[in-house]
């Protein structure tokens, strides 16, 4: 008996669903621009932003929502963002240049991450806020400001290593930030550098999905802000970073069934579900499961703005009041830096099916016009099925049986699989069909893409609806004037 297909259907909201239903629009695009192709939906960004802002309003909070630029290099996304009220979190010199060029004014930009002197100089010169990683970075920045007689720089030091009351939480040590216990030394330095820097807030970012850990950190920041005010400093904003997560899958039940079966496969109780029996971090030892599942929790009931809402509604571990209430009554603004969550549903990655090869042991191999670097599913541990877009006008095949298939990339490497999971499709594809990887705009599109063996890097286009039809621009040709009825005809095609 054939085992039931273990589908992991991607979650598609109306705009992305409508795009992936437009095979007549997408096929000619890939014909013209090559496979793989990244398609972005800039308008979705504004919708996502509005959802985050609604959570702020619900809790009566003010403060900036920064998009973490590193989630995607797209110009269209940053330009569309410039047309909203949101700010931008840039993590490199080039990202800062890009943000400024796209129309984000300096007061809406915050510079984060590891910084070289050039990055610090441009940030200081243009007057963007600098999120400071360490004492050493503060000293370097202050020295730079004095030496080049730059204007006073707004800074938000990043803290880490907060202590919880009651039980000790064994949070992963971070390479970023200054230990909260060393706050006094840091503030001494801030006061010494008063001529060069202006403390406007404090920040933290924890790499965890655990709300209790974040509650400890946020309360720690509220206490640290209070310590600043006692010294006569006047910071106003607490930046809690990002990490709100995305729900990638349509059905919780599919995710739960799949992970159970993966466990069974690792323990040898069923045929493998992955290439060469890969366990995604799990392994069986004498019938006992060991290791940890290194997969993104692809189905998440609480993600993006609902995660922020849940965090803000959590009671502070020692002060006892809900965190949103504490922020509000202490008169602090809240800043957030969602990346993945703000570009949720903002695009897809398309690839051409080049070859359909059944193997002697009953599997199907699909060779695609892309490689594993072009869509970071493996790199980020995101499991989901691609959407099959049959070639329009191809001789209509009867609606066949669902099929499980492994997706091979275009590098001459044994390990170049788009995902090591056997994906499931409603029927066997034919060469010339497209596979669409949904919801790739956050980190999955270009974070790792390169030009190994001179295979083409995916081009990007921005797509939008206008007058009842899909339109597109090359990513670099898109400006927020498009999609508002004043589009220039250049580069335009109509579906």
């Amino acid at each position: 008996m054939r085992p039931l297909p273990l589908f992991l259907e991607p979650r598609l909201e109306p705009r992305l669903r409508s795009l992936l239903a437009a095979g007549d629009f997408l096929h000619p695009l890939v014909d013209a621009l090559g496979s793989p192709l990244n398609v972005l939906l800039p308008e979705q960004l504004a919708d996502n932003l509005a959802r985050f802002r609604a959570v702020y309003r619900k809790h009566h909070l003010s403060g900036p929502i920064h998009y973490a630029h590193k989630a995607n290099r797209s110009r269209a996304i940053v330009r569309r963002l410039a047309a909203t009220e949101a700010g931008l979190d840039v993590a490199s010199l080039a990202e800062l240049q890009h943000a400024l060029g796209a129309g984000c004014t300096p007061e809406r930009i915050i510079a984060t991450g590891p910084k070289n002197r050039e990055f610090l100089w441009l940030a200081a010169r243009t007057g963007v806020t600098v999120s400071l990683d360490s004492r050493a970075e503060l000293d370097e920045l202050a020295e730079l400001v004095r030496k080049h007689t730059l204007p006073r720089v707004r800074i938000m030091p990043r803290l880490s290593g907060f202590e919880a009351p009651g039980a000790r939480v064994l949070s992963r040590p971070s390479r970023f930030g200054t230990a909260a216990a060393g706050l006094d030394d840091l503030l001494d330095a801030v006061e010494r550098h008063r001529d060069a820097v202006d403390l406007t807030g404090l920040a933290y970012h924890l790499d965890t999905t655990g709300i209790p850990e974040k509650a400890v950190a946020l309360e720690g920041c509220i206490r640290a802000m209070n310590a600043c005010h006692r010294r006569g400093l006047r910071p106003r904003t607490i930046d809690i970073g990002g990490g709100f997560g995305v729900n990638y899958l349509a059905h919780a039940a599919q995710w739960e069934r799949y992970t159970t079966e993966l466990t069974n496969a690792v323990l040898g109780n069923r045929p493998p579900l992955t290439w060469h029996g890969h366990g995604y971090g799990l392994r069986g030892e004498h019938g006992t499961l060991r290791g940890a599942l290194t997969l993104y929790p692809a189905h998440r009931a609480t993600a993006a703005e609902t995660y922020l809402d849940a965090l803000l509604s959590t009671r502070a571990p020692s002060l006892g009041r809900p965190l949103a209430t504490l922020l509000l009554e202490n008169l602090y603004d809240l800043a957030v830096e969602p990346g993945r969550a703000l570009v949720d549903q903002c695009g897809a990655t398309l690839a051409r099916v080049l070859e359909v090869r059944p193997t002697p042991d009953g599997d199907v191999l699909l060779r695609l016009g892309m490689n594993a670097r072009d869509v970071g599913l493996e790199e980020h541990g995101v499991l989901m099925d691609p959407v099959l877009l049959p070639r329009p006008g191809a001789p209509s095949t009867p609606p066949g049986e669902p099929v499980g298939a492994y997706l091979l990339g275009n590098l001459c490497l044994e390990s170049d699989l788009i995902t090591r999971r056997k994906v499931f499709l409603p029927r066997l594809p034919a060469p010339g069909d497209l596979l669409a990887f949904a919801n790739t705009a956050g980190y999955l599109m270009d974070f790792t893409a390169g030009r190994a063996i001179q295979q083409p890097a995916a081009r990007k286009v921005a797509a939008f609806r206008q007058d009842g039809a899909w339109h597109w621009r090359l990513d670099e040709q898109y400006w927020p004037v498009d999609g508002t009825g004043t589009a220039e005809p250049q580069g335009e095609r109509q579906a």
Binding site: T208, G243, T288, R321, L326, N330, E378
Partner: protein, 442 residues
């Protein structure tokens, strides 16, 4: 009964028949093994004592710390046993989701270390789970730890092979029950009891219960999580079935409200799973004279799970509506509330010196507030108003909260309670600050 040590009182728990009027079973006698009556409150007392008894003298000599990966009952029992022997106890856990359990453990003198949540930015090369890492640290020779290792230690199973299992057979007049139903946590009790019962009668049916995957029931693992348990052997169970948190709570409520058993959710889950399974069996026995027995385990008591229950079934804790609460305000009450803007408020304060009540938390008040205001945090103000006005009805009062929303509701409530001049600061303390009005720190 006289004992030299409380640990001597572990075990020998009652086996109590559940009233057939409750079970509705006509051919099966269902018995509850009341492990909640162990001295520290749960079935885990047996394993905790069995895993430490022989190792304690040497551990005391070395001054070891007793350590276990536990989020509940095992930690509780071990904390007490360690305390009796003058040793510290530490629990490392990522599953402690019930706040009362955590507080209780701290009260018992336990040190708790919690494992972090899943990482958001995945590192696919990091496949070493924190549990394995901790395991390695604890198992190193001369680590200074006595690691009881409940998920892997054969002493856990042995506690039930020598205790729980034989007690059930003895109390059923030397016969094994036809059906045995248990929730799977460490798998210690189900494995140990099943071995004893099967040795008596190979035909015993053993039903293992796991938590529904999307659910959380304290003390029970999900179908995936049981595979991480070294003691878990699927061959122990004739069938593995899942129960949801809702079903476990329903079962628990029946045990509490109909049977006089103060069972926790795990016992409730076992009862629900037992009934669901046995009803089918019972129906198949319709016309036979065959009489059967079944036993399920009630692991622990309800009192530690109030927070868990409040979260899932708030209606169980419905209090009668209290007088003078914000929830009772009508639109007409709200329309009658008076608000004053920052300028008017400053003038009013200067001229009539109203009592200024700042409803924010004490931490925020201490940092910055309106000069001369007093701090009564909203939660406390709520309590005061249930009893009546905390100041005279003619005393002018200006209420302030962060944005002027809550204060307006309280002004409406005070007015309805007969206060003559209660006003809300429109825009709140934030509006006050943004208008450039002074805030002080004392």
């Amino acid at each position: 009964m006289r004992y030299d040590s409380i640990t001597d009182a572990i075990g020998d728990t009652p086996l109590v028949r559940i009233d057939p009027a409750v079970t509705g079973l006509r051919h099966i006698d269902l018995y509850a093994k009341l492990e909640l009556l162990n001295p520290f409150g749960s079935v885990k007392d047996r394993a905790a004592w069995n895993m430490t008894r022989d190792a304690l003298p040497a551990a005391v000599e070395r001054g070891d710390t007793v350590v276990e990966l536990s989020s509940g009952n095992t930690a509780k029992a071990l904390a007490l046993i360690a305390g009796m022997h003058g040793l510290p106890f530490k629990s490392v856990t990522n599953r402690m989701k019930v706040p009362e359990v955590k507080d209780l453990l701290l009260l018992l003198g336990a040190e708790i270390e919690e494992l972090p949540g899943r990482t958001e930015c995945l590192d696919p090369t990091d496949t070493d789970d924190p549990l394995t890492r901790i395991h390695r640290m604890l198992s190193a020779a001369d680590s200074g730890y006595l690691h009881t290792d409940q998920y892997f230690s054969p002493l856990n199973v042995e506690a039930h092979v020598t205790g729980t299992g034989p007690e059930i057979v003895r109390d059923l007049d030397g016969r094994a029950p036809d059906h045995f139903i248990a929730c799977v946590g460490t798998a210690g009790s189900s494995t140990g009891v099943a071995a004893v019962l099967r040795a008596h009668d190979p035909a015993v049916e053993v039903v293992g219960l796991v938590a529904d995957k999307s659910d959380f029931i304290p003390g029970i693992r999900t179908i995936d999580e049981v595979h991480e348990v070294g003691l878990f052997d699927p061959g122990t169970y004739d069938t593995l079935q899942s129960v949801t948190a809702d079903q476990a709570i329903d079962g628990m409520l029946t045990l509490i409200r109909r049977c006089g058993l103060l069972a926790g959710p795990t016992g409730g889950g076992a009862f629900h799973g037992a009934l669901r399974h046995l009803r089918t069996v019972d129906a198949g026995l319709a016309d036979s004279a065959d009489r059967r027995t079944a036993v399920f385990i009630v692991c622990d008591r309800v009192e530690s799970y109030l927070g868990y229950l409040r979260q899932r079934r708030p209606e169980l804790f419905n209090q009668p509506a209290r007088p003078n609460s914000l929830g009772s305000l009508t639109p007409a009450d709200l329309a009658a509330a008076r608000s004053v803007d920052v300028d008017a408020a400053r003038k009013w304060i200067a001229e009539e010196r109203p009592l200024v009540v700042d409803l924010r938390g004490p931490f925020a008040y201490a940092a910055l507030h309106i000069e001369g205001s007093i701090n009564i945090v909203d939660e406390l103000f709520d309590e005061l108003l249930h009893g009546g006005l905390p100041f005279g009805p003619r005393q002018p009062v200006l209420l302030a909260c962060p944005v002027g929303e809550k204060s307006e509701r309280y002004a409406a409530l005070l007015t309805r309670m007969g206060h003559r001049d209660a006003r809300s600061l429109a825009g709140g303390i934030i509006g006050w600050r943004d208008a450039g009005a002074p805030l002080v720190r004392d």
